[in-house]
Point group: C2
Chain length 600, copies 2
């Protein structure tokens, strides 16, 4: 098992030096926090991860949950973990003090997710799902629902889930068919099936609380007729809890991410499944989207976390494994060198570093926007809300797609050993493949970005985003070694703006299919620009730090590594937009107009 | 299990219409073959694959070989398969009639590998390894070695292997340390360890014959002191066979490609392991490279074959799975459409098709060059030898790297189901990940292409390759709808030539590190051009066929699909060279000069 799976130094660099996140402590809501508390939170998360998550990384993959007699059984470590997550306040971290939470900044809570995910992704999802589900009850539920469910979920005693997907619907939520029939007692009777429900059932908790989408009888068709319900596995009765006619019909066997059980659930087979309406009828999808947006950032964060673990595993190997000689020392009698001395291995390591640290920075940027949205009002609030809305599909998808490549490259660094179960990269490669799928596929994110986000409010979010980039460009000192990168990013973002207008024009003309046919490629393009922006930010901070004459060797190497990461991204990744631009600009229409019958 | 894993129609299109491979029957050596025999061979291969390989695809993954008491046990189906491979003449296919073979064209033998690989990759490697090993004995071994080993290997009774890799050496063959000590009886005593030996031991055969690299005591250091030996698991004695002090120390547990056992072997632990020199001393690496080059094409072929199976699995799913509606029909009361109607799904399917059919065409092109090299003499022979030499690293690596992406996209087409063990794409994604690693990593292929192949004989191979492309360009009719693609390929190959000269200049200046630092990217660039060339060829044939007025609907759709594939490749893949060009042209040096300590 590799020793390192993330760099706390890097997290602190991004948090304090690049994003200056302690500035949010000037707002009253976060007034009781400061850098010491931030460090303490990160330290505690790391300690928990080191001791209770990372040691079980491989074991949870090899001994996955199993399904027996209508019940899913998970690795026994999950039980202890749920208690630790609850006792440590990790599930309630971002809730206010009055609500029994820690009132922790979102950026810190998301970083704890990063730390847990890098240590053991499967084990990290349980508390996160409870947080998301309890947030929905907290924000939109009645006081009774809050009192009944939230304390147990915060304590890690009950598991929260989001139950959206149905066999016939998948990504098409307008086709949700689960029904809710009102009763005179106030509750609804739920009937239907849900599939792919993460942590949808397991034996490490006493109860499972589903935040479920269903249609109230008589509701309009499509997304406008979907309501949100709390549907527990066991409902609360006077004597405690009693079965609520929620049947676990099975568990899915996955390629990776094996430690977390994904369930197939049947609700109301015996007409006795009680559900409790959250908020108003027919507004379920709006409510759910709040959770979904948080979840999308979390997915991006998880993808980066796995990529981080793979990067350090391959880096450690590359530093220790002797093989071959440099181009200038081909004498076979000379000792072999560590493979990190070979340019191609370095390229593969830098690729991983550039993607991991660039993506993490973007996700922290988004998290900070979420915090700033939370503590501000009026126009300022709206500005951050728009930035967050715009960047969420990018921050979800870029890391998810790229982590497939970076974990693959981690395997490649180990050569034949990388393909073996004895080393961790192959598990990371399997684990991370879920991310472009769950919480909205990459295809869906592309449509969301180009078909909705860049055009909303007449393109205001896009304008603000480009403004944010310009602010970074303006901060580049005239003598900086990064000034050529400044010009490259300026040019690239102008190209992005041009191609955006080009595509949006098709939408305005009503040629939606032409506009959106390559939305996935547009999303990739956008992602590269966003990460380049984050790398320029990091490079500028590192360059300034390197001006100091009394850096420790460790700090000196760290900042030089940051300069390398920035230079790598501009030399190797930014050029990829050229091809994307050429395609997106092309007038040649292929996929919207072709006949499916030609695909043989 | 998906019904289709390859398209025979496509194979025949490439074989007869694009590459006109029956033209080789005009050479005396292949004079007894004709189109009917070609079709019969393909049909038999497909039948064998349908009946004896494909049904065991999943099962061989779920019940992998196991190691017990010094012996590896494989799936029981392998035993029957080895007999079928032997009886059907698949192992000896390309050997001459006199040698007991079928004298089959290499292109047909390689296509049988494609068919077997698409049906069940793990089960397909056993005969291929025997062919390679027996070819070495046949070409370089003594008559006694031939008589002793080849008939049993051809019959599928004994397994052949290539035993190169050692724990301390990996890709660095100059560091091979296994020793061979001459004895007065003529044989050598072998001592050493070999790792990652494919089919290195299993119970479906009576004996395993290793073609092994070792150093004769006193040999020069480096690659010039390596000799080739036949080292059987059991040696032939008067009474039959007897143990030869070859110990199976263990078996590797891999992420995929699980049906084939990869062994760790110890030779001569008890000083009683007999090895038989093949050819002359110290020439082992040259001999082995003959096998390795065949093996590299076979790896490319296997990568395409898995990608083919994944393509058809996702195509089948996309045609059957209803979900969502088109952009213009958002009424939730309308029925859902099959997901193949969504542009992004079509893009993902076309991507797979373009890579699979483009790569298969290139591999067939290379196979044809191998046949033409075999049957010609003098300058013509050399021309084909050079083309094959140049293109081998490309034909090995492009499909190997791209199949990671195409199988990943196949998963994506299935959404959440793609991540489940219940569907085949996840296995294909795991299986194909071996290909950029074995038989020389992608990094090694890049160095081979740029550091050796394009500069050998003063760049002659490269000139001939560009000439071949020009010949295709000249064949484009002036009114063809593909004439814009003609200009794009002309321009792209000029760029390739320019960047090649740019990089080779660094080599000439002695700045080898600068030249080769991004050899992997150069290899990718070269691959894209080579596949575009193959797609232009296919498009031209399809365009001409579509001129006919009495095509069946099936043929019409097939040829239209080919036009789509060609257009897709030029619209979506060719643009990728822009970014690669920009990087390869950049004067900014990163990986050769940086300090490893900065990677933290």
């Amino acid at each position: 098992m590799p020793k390192q799976y993330l760099s706390l130094r890097n997290i602190q660099f991004l948090l304090y030096e690049v994003h200056q996140a302690t500035s949010i402590c000037q707002y009253a809501y976060y007034g009781e926090h400061n850098k010491e508390i931030f460090d303490m939170v990160l330290g505690s998360a790391k300690q928990l991860a080191d001791k209770y998550l990372h040691p079980y990384l491989t074991e949870m993959d090899r001994k996955p949950p199993y399904y027996e007699n209508g019940q899913i059984y998970v690795h026994q470590q999950i039980k202890q973990l749920m208690k630790l997550y609850g006792d440590g306040g990790w599930i309630s971290a971002t809730s206010s003090y009055e609500e029994g939470g820690q009132q922790l900044p979102i950026i810190l809570s998301n970083l704890s997710g990063f730390i847990f995910g890098a240590a053991n992704y499967s084990a990290s999802v349980f508390p996160f799902l409870s947080t998301g589900a309890s947030n929905l009850i907290r924000n939109f539920g009645s006081q009774e629902l809050k009192d009944t469910f939230i304390p147990k979920m915060y304590a890690g005693e009950w598991q929260g889930t989001m139950a959206l997907t149905e066999p016939q619907a998948g990504s098409s939520l307008s086709d949700v068919q689960t029904t809710a029939s009102p009763t005179e007692s106030g509750h609804y009777l739920i009937k239907g099936q849900k599939i792919f429900i993460s942590a949808g059932d397991h034996d490490a908790v006493e109860n499972v609380v589903h935040l479920l989408l269903a249609r109230i009888k008589g509701a309009p068709a499509g997304v406008k007729g979907i309501s949100l319900f709390v549907v527990p596995k066991k409902r609360v009765v006077k004597e405690g809890v009693a079965p609520n006619d929620v049947i676990t019909a099975g568990m899915y066997h996955k390629m990776g991410y094996k430690g977390a059980p994904i369930a197939h659930l049947i609700f109301g087979e015996h007409e006795d499944c009680h559900g409790y309406l959250v908020g108003e009828p027919h507004k379920g999808l709006n409510y759910m989207f709040q959770m979904m947006n948080e979840a999308r950032l979390a997915v991006g964060m998880s993808a980066v976390s796995i990529a981080s673990a793979a990067y350090y595993a391959s880096l450690e190997y590359a530093k220790e494994r002797p093989q071959g000689r440099t181009f200038h020392a081909k004498n076979p009698l000379e000792p072999q060198v560590a493979i990190i001395e070979h340019p191609d291995i370095r390229r593969m390591l830098l690729f991983q570093k550039a993607i991991v640290e660039g993506s993490l920075s973007l996700l922290m940027q988004c998290s900070l926007y979420a915090d700033l949205e939370k503590v501000n009002t009026g126009e300022t609030k709206e500005r951050y809300a728009l930035l967050l809305d715009l960047l969420t599909p990018v921050a979800k998808s870029y890391p998810s797609e790229m982590a497939i490549q970076t974990t693959s490259v981690a395997i490649q660094c180990l050569g034949g050993y990388g393909y073996l179960e004895d080393f961790t990269p192959e598990q990371f490669f399997r684990d991370t493949r879920i991310h472009p799928i769950h919480e909205g596929t990459t295809g869906i994110q592309g449509l969301d970005l180009l078909g909705r986000k860049v055009i909303m409010h007449e393109g205001r979010a896009m304008s603000i985003f480009l403004e944010e980039i310009r602010l970074t460009l303006l901060s580049v000192p005239s003598l900086s070694t990064l000034r050529v990168r400044k010009h490259e990013l300026a040019e690239a973002s102008q190209h992005l703006q041009a191609i955006t207008m080009h595509l949006v024009d098709f939408i305005k003309e009503g040629n939606v299919e032409k506009a959106l046919a390559d939305a996935t490629l547009y999303l990739e393009y956008f992602g590269i620009i966003a990460i380049a922006w984050q790398w320029l930010k990091q490079g500028l901070v590192a360059e300034k730090a390197l001006e100091s004459s009394n850096l420790s060797e460790e700090d000196y190497n760290f900042y030089q590594g940051k300069m390398l990461g920035a230079q790598y991204f501009f030399e190797y990744e930014i050029p990829k937009i050229r091809g994307l631009h050429e395609r997106l600009e092309s007038s040649y229409t292929l996929t919207p107009t072709m006949k499916s019958a030609y695909l043989v």
